[in-house]
Amino acid sequence: MINFELSEAQKNIKQMVHFFAESQIRPIAMEADKTGEVPRDFLKMVAKMGISMGPSPKEAGGEGEGVGETKDRKGVSQVHRITIVAAEEIAWGDAGIVLSFPGPGLGEPPVRIMGTPDQQKRFFGILTKDDEPHWGAFALTEPGAGSDVAAIAATAKKDGNHYIINGAKQFITNGARADWNVVFATIDKKLGRAGHRAFVIEKGTPGFRVGKIEEKMGLRASETAELVFEDCKVHKDNLLGGEEYYEKKAGFKGAMGTFDASRPMVAAMATGIARAAYEYSLNWVKENYPLSRPIPKYQTIKDIFATMARKIEAARLLTWKAAYMLDMKQPNAKEASMAKAYAAQIAMETCINAIQVMGGHGCLNDHPVEKWFRDIKVFDIFEGTGQVQRIVISRRLMEISGESAA
């Protein structure tokens, strides 16, 4: 039955996460953006509390530590719905900080989906071995291969019980501080996607070094690294799923499968940022606009706010739908792309307009809105650009089964 009411579990999480975002994240956000660093004490606290960006591997149905499966009243897992409700709230606090949260991050889905039970235990275990913050990361993008994931050029060459990795990865969130990176490389470019392999490469592996840390427009509290592999020797035990896995399926599919879960999460975060900007500017206008303002000016502003509110609501519902399908184990690629493309776009628009209604004040870093403007832009770029999402959507609409698009 159609129902838009959050379950008790969802409501509780939302409340809890909102409280955390408001009391712990907001107060440190502007400073972290300026210095480009999240306070170590904060990260330690987050690690200790076991808060992570997405569901824990266990909750998502994998091996490793977690708080256990949460079922809705029909007995269906609601972990993805809970995740996006939480993601919106936490990004409402600050997205730059959230992306720095310890945990497997975007490296979680490939390890869980492709990894053997042993690999899952081993790699997730590294992250929870003590109370210190630990990170996992996902390294797919290369200087010459972004949206066109199939074009990756990093190579993996078999050498006895090892693989020799050569190549570079770019724009890797938490890539430098991570204990391990899930790195995609090709054993033979001619094979296309069938030649892709996913390796878990641990920090300190000889031949692996961190290149430059990027200076970005926004999300400056989050670390974005370049990773360089020069004759990097990785044991075959670190090949996700083992060699047999790739005889059955393409490694690329594994990478793509992770997007079905990560895109609704990105959409939820974008919705959270949009909501933050909307609420902040609305409060500012209420407090600062004298009632004597001429009506026509008011009308423009009313129109702007009404539009913001409407689009945020629509973005949220698209996101909920995508997550709901994920919980129901229904194919959701189209819906995940719709949510991601729409939420990222309207969130940018909302931030632009939030600054606009605040006039010159909106541009000042006295207010967080200018920061959200800088942060939100990349949501229409990472995890598949808005353009790639449109390819995915239209392919599904026209039932084109081609694989050339992400």
Partner: protein, 387 residues
């Protein structure tokens, strides 16, 4: 006869300015942004080319080339980098206030020094806006009190370009509140007069290459002859604002052109799915829309500047060009970042900076909403007060 080609003289200037913008502004834009100013050598070259007073009439020492040429020059400079273009020297918008409101003698006295050889690092600063004022002049709180042959100015000004460091500040202040707009005066404060303090250097989303500050005026003593008295404020301000808006819009056009050009070049060399990304329909349509928007804004700006040079009523054309150019700049810069993808988001490329600059530009000189209101009033034949 309708003609879109610049004159030979203008073309020569454009070519020269384009080269200057490329070598002096574009190539150094990150350094200039980081430093919050452009290098002295850049200012010197700019001044030596006569660009700092290009739109000041010859009788006051400038090149006297009119608004159309000035708009073309600003477009080219901003094609290099809009932040750097706005950080260049000269009387700037304060000069427009003096031209619009000053007497012959005042114009000569205050503007001539800007064109002297060696005056390459002289700046003018226009101080109208206050934190609680928006574009509503009646809410102005800064006061000027007459005492013998002086006025004593007190108050605060907000978002002031070169506030506190300029060579001349043109400060608007209320002399007699009961007289409304007629009770407001514009005062020229020369360098060295005590009492102007920078209370805060503002950190903004964009345009960080220019110095934008909040200043306080504490018992600033200004001689009576520095009260601009050639044209009544109410009458003169309209023309002043029209010039300011056209120049600002021309800069937005330059920014839009720069972002478009950068995105086009990138889309020709970057490949995805086996061909340059510009050859994918999704991106090619986006680029086509961007190009159309840039040109539409450009012609509106040129037309507005042309009206001003003809001495014709230009209010409607100016407001239209202002709104179109500012909104275009935001859209085009946003799309340029999008087309560069992750590369657009990092500081190795200038598009993320231009996107921040574009949003900031749309707000430092009144909002597009305010100008839309004027457009409506003009097309509906409703008289409006200046602002």
């Amino acid at each position: 006869m309708v003609d879109f080609s610049p004159t030979e003289e203008e073309q020569a200037i454009i070519d020269q300015v384009r080269k200057f913008a490329q070598t002096e502004l574009r190539q150094k834009l990150r350094d200039y942004e980081k430093n919050g100013s452009v290098a002295e050598n850049t200012l010197r070259k700019y001044h030596e080319m006569g660009l700092s007073t290009i739109d000041i009439p010859q009788e006051y020492g400038g090149m006297g080339l009119g608004m159309r040429t000035a708009a073309l020059v600003q477009e080219e400079l901003s094609f290099g980098d809009v932040g750097a273009a706005m950080a260049l020297s000269g009387p700037g918008f304060a000069g427009y206030a003096i031209l619009a409101l000053g007497s012959e003698n005042q114009k000569k006295r205050f503007l001539e020094p800007f064109s002297q050889p060696g005056a390459y690092a002289k700046f003018g600063s226009l101080c109208i806006y206050e934190e609680k004022m928006d574009s509503d002049m009646s809410a102005m709180e800064t006061t000027a009190k007459k005492e013998n042959n002086y006025y004593i100015l007190n108050g605060k000004k907000f978002m002031i370009h070169y506030g506190g460091t300029a060579d001349i500040h043109v400060v608007f202040a209320v002399i007699d509140r009961s007289k409304g707009m007629d009770g407001i005066g514009a005062f020229v404060i020369e360098k060295g007069v005590p009492g102007i303090k920078i209370t805060r250097k503002l950190e903004l989303l964009g345009l960080n290459t220019c110095s934008i500050t909040e200043i306080a005026l504490e018992n600033v003593k200004v001689p009576s002859e520095n009260l601009l008295n050639g044209t009544p404020l109410k009458k003169g301000m309209q023309g002043m604002y029209e010039r300011i808006r056209v120049i600002h819009a021309a800069r937005a056009v330059g920014l839009g052109k720069a972002a478009l050009d950068y995105a086009v070049e990138y889309s020709k060399v970057r490949e995805a799915f086996g061909k340059p990304i510009g050859q994918h329909q999704g991106l090619s349509f986006m680029l086509a829309d961007m190009a159309t928007e840039v040109d539409a804004a450009r012609w509106l700006v040129w037309k507005a500047a042309w009206h001003l040079d003809q001495g014709e009523p230009a209010s409607l054309a100016v407001s239209m060009s202002f709104v179109q150019a500012n909104e275009m700049a935001m859209t085009v810069a946003n799309n340029a970042v999008q087309i560069l993808g992750g590369h657009g988001y990092i500081q190795d490329h200038p598009v993320e900076k231009w996107m921040r600059d574009a949003k900031t530009m749309g707000l430092v000189i009144g909002t597009t909403q305010g100008q839309n209101q004027r457009i409506f009033n003009d097309i509906a034949g409703i008289y409006t007060d200046v602002s």
